[in-house]
């Protein structure tokens, strides 16, 4: 075992852990447990908001699979990853103030709450709760596996032991601390991610003998590596551009991201967060993927893409520094897992249990239930991750596209188009998910683009046409909006 690498990593875990526990105090002192536990009391400032957005979004795929793909595909994959700069400003600008004002008016704590108040329909609630639970479960186990794998590759411990270490360090403070603990630890983790990628990029450039030397090594191996088209010249402009939808603008509809757009304190926090998150997302994505490409001439022949990042850190940096840098993917994974866990738990507690099973549950009952559900969910995901499938990026992207297809029009239309109604929302979610799964399974890349694009277009047609054709039927129900 490489203790010089492991010690800084352990130290990092311990610090994050204590911050989580510390912020749990707020949960105890707050008057509304639900608002506090699942939304941090809507009191996040600009910096914390930006960091929690970035680190929720930056996950195992941006730190492990992403650089791995860049290693294999060259600069074309960095180009693809830069579509994510848009998420930094687009999400907060588009959901923005309207979402903040309306969710406060509705007193909504979750995305499903918002949809429920907006559309006044049981079916919208059930449908969206189910899709959140299913898709985010698969996203969570992908992250969990990534976390386990990372500890495994660093320590040499067996996968199952590694998985349990990871689980214990995440679960405890999420269960106790709720959303605020997650947001504050996200801030630490986001900062670690930011600095870690910078240190590693500098280390890689030095080890490779400077950027010109690295680029000419790459060109000598295969000129395609320095073109926008990928190693085998098969990354078409349509395909790469379609990631603007999947990882760019579509991110607006991811419940774990959108819920953050209702957690901030005031419009100044929002303004500051827009600028900070653009800088941080772009910086991390550019650096991480460049690291993947630049690693290729230094460490040729790595076969498993996910291991590029840990291997290159240990190769080019002194061990203690590698330990600090490797806390970055750890941070990314943990913060994504936390966010997903708290979101799925809020869906079960608030959207399903309190809405339909027992609306009169007491404050103490809610408290116990929330922590209990969070624990049980955590344990189930671990069990699912014991026998993991191989492709983290695939699982993760599958859930992303599915959620985006399901939620984008009900959320955006719900905010900006008052004619949108429950029939439209239900049709749009069903069409989005069903076609996404069909495309992914039988006909990937319609028109040369990622299947999320076609699914979102079909979902849009469904939302608009069904909403318009049911205007009469729906009259009188929709007046609660405005």
């Amino acid at each position: 075992m490489n203790w010089q690498v492991i010690l800084p990593l352990l130290l990092f875990l311990v610090i994050v852990f204590f911050v989580g526990i510390w912020s749990a105090r707020h949960v105890k002192s707050s008057d509304s447990f639900l608002q506090e536990y699942f939304l941090g009391g809507r009191s996040l400032g600009g910096f914390v908001l930006a960091m929690t957005l970035v680190s929720t979004y930056g996950s195992a795929s941006s730190f492990l699979s992403g650089p791995g793909a860049a290693y294999n595909q060259g600069l074309g994959w960095v180009l693809l990853s830069m579509t994510q700069v848009a998420t930094g400003y687009f999400v907060l600008m588009v959901l923005g103030k309207k979402f903040a004002i309306i969710t406060r008016k509705y007193n909504a704590v979750t995305i499903v709450d918002f949809l429920k108040e907006r559309y006044q329909s049981k079916w919208v609630v059930i449908l969206s709760a189910i899709s959140i639970i299913i898709f985010l479960f698969s996203a969570m186990s992908a992250q969990w596996i990534g976390g386990g794998r990372l500890i495994q590759s660093l320590t040499g411990l067996p996968y199952i032991t590694a998985l349990f270490i990871f689980t214990a360090s995440v679960l405890i403070y999420v269960i106790i601390g709720g959303f605020r603990a997650v947001a504050i630890t996200d801030t630490i983790q986001g900062s670690v991610m930011f600095l870690g990628t910078l240190i590693l990029l500098v280390g890689v450039i030095i080890a490779g003998g400077g950027i010109p030397a690295i680029i000419s090594d790459l060109a000598a191996e295969n000129p395609n590596l320095i073109t926008p088209f990928g190693t085998n010249a098969d990354l078409t402009p349509q395909y790469v551009s379609s990631f603007w939808v999947l990882v760019g603008v579509g991110v607006v509809a991811l419940p774990q991201i959108a819920v953050r757009a209702m957690s901030y304190k005031n419009s100044r926090s929002l303004h500051r967060a827009i600028v900070i998150s653009t800088v941080v997302v772009g910086f991390i994505m550019l650096n991480m993927h460049l690291i993947g490409v630049f690693a290729r001439p230094i460490l040729p022949g790595i076969e498993v893409g996910d291991t590029v990042m840990p291997l290159i850190s240990m190769e080019v940096l002194p061990p203690w520094l590698a330990g600090i840098v490797l806390a970055a993917p750890m941070a990314a994974i943990m913060s994504t897992v936390n966010a997903l866990l708290i979101l799925v738990s809020s869906t079960v507690v608030k959207d399903v249990y309190i809405n339909y099973i027992n609306p009169k549950v007491s404050e103490v009952g809610i408290r116990r239930l929330s922590m209990g559900v969070t624990t049980i969910l955590g344990v189930i995901v671990v069990l699912m991750s014991l026998n993991p499938p191989d492709l983290i990026i695939w699982l993760n992207l599958f859930s992303m596209g599915g959620l985006e297809s399901a939620f984008i029009w009900p959320i955006i239309g719900g905010l900006y188009w008052s004619k949108g109604n429950k029939y439209g929302a239900i049709a749009s979610s069903v069409v989005g998910i069903v076609f996404y799964i069909i495309f992914e399974t039988y006909y990937p890349q319609p028109f040369g683009m990622h299947s999320v694009v076609s699914s979102i277009v079909l979902a849009f047609i469904a939302y608009v046409s069904v909403s318009l054709s049911t205007q009469k039927k729906d009259r009188g129900l929709n007046n609660s909006f405005n």
Binding site: L75, V78, L79, M82, T83, V85, A86, G88, Y89, F90, M93, V94, G96, K97, K98, A100, I101, R104, G210, I211, P212, A213, I214, I215, A219, P223, N224, I226, T227, P228, F229, P237, S241, W244, G248, V249, N266, S267, R268, H271, I274, V275, T278, V279, G282, F283, L286, Y416, W417, S418, K419, N482
Partner: protein
């Protein structure tokens, strides 16, 4: 997105709508910049590439300069187009 559908009494929604349109405008600009440089300069034979700071020009302008341009634009947009509004009806007096 019709204007008359929105509660005209709430001035905040007009501001919010305008800011959402700014977001869409920025994304469109971002996309055109990114696509134009990447495939405009990168589409030729790699032997004919020119380089800036060691990076191929298409990459340098599309990803590095493009990123910096977006930061500047986002900063300017927020500074000059975005308006401070209260989120809760009773917030006006206490928090500003």
């Amino acid at each position: 997105m019709k204007k008359e559908d929105i509660d005209k009494n709430d001035y905040r929604f007009k501001i919010a709508n305008r800011e959402a349109l700014v977001g869409i405008g920025l994304v469109i600009f971002n996309f055109i910049w990114w696509f134009g440089f990447a495939y405009g300069l990168g589409g030729q034979d790699p032997n004919k590439y020119s380089y800036t700071f060691g990076l191929p020009n298409w990459f340098f302008y599309s990803c590095v300069v493009g990123f910096i341009v977006m930061i500047v634009l986002v900063f300017l947009a927020v500074k000059f187009f975005f308006v401070d509004v209260p989120f809760e009806e009773d917030e006006e007096n206490e928090d500003k």
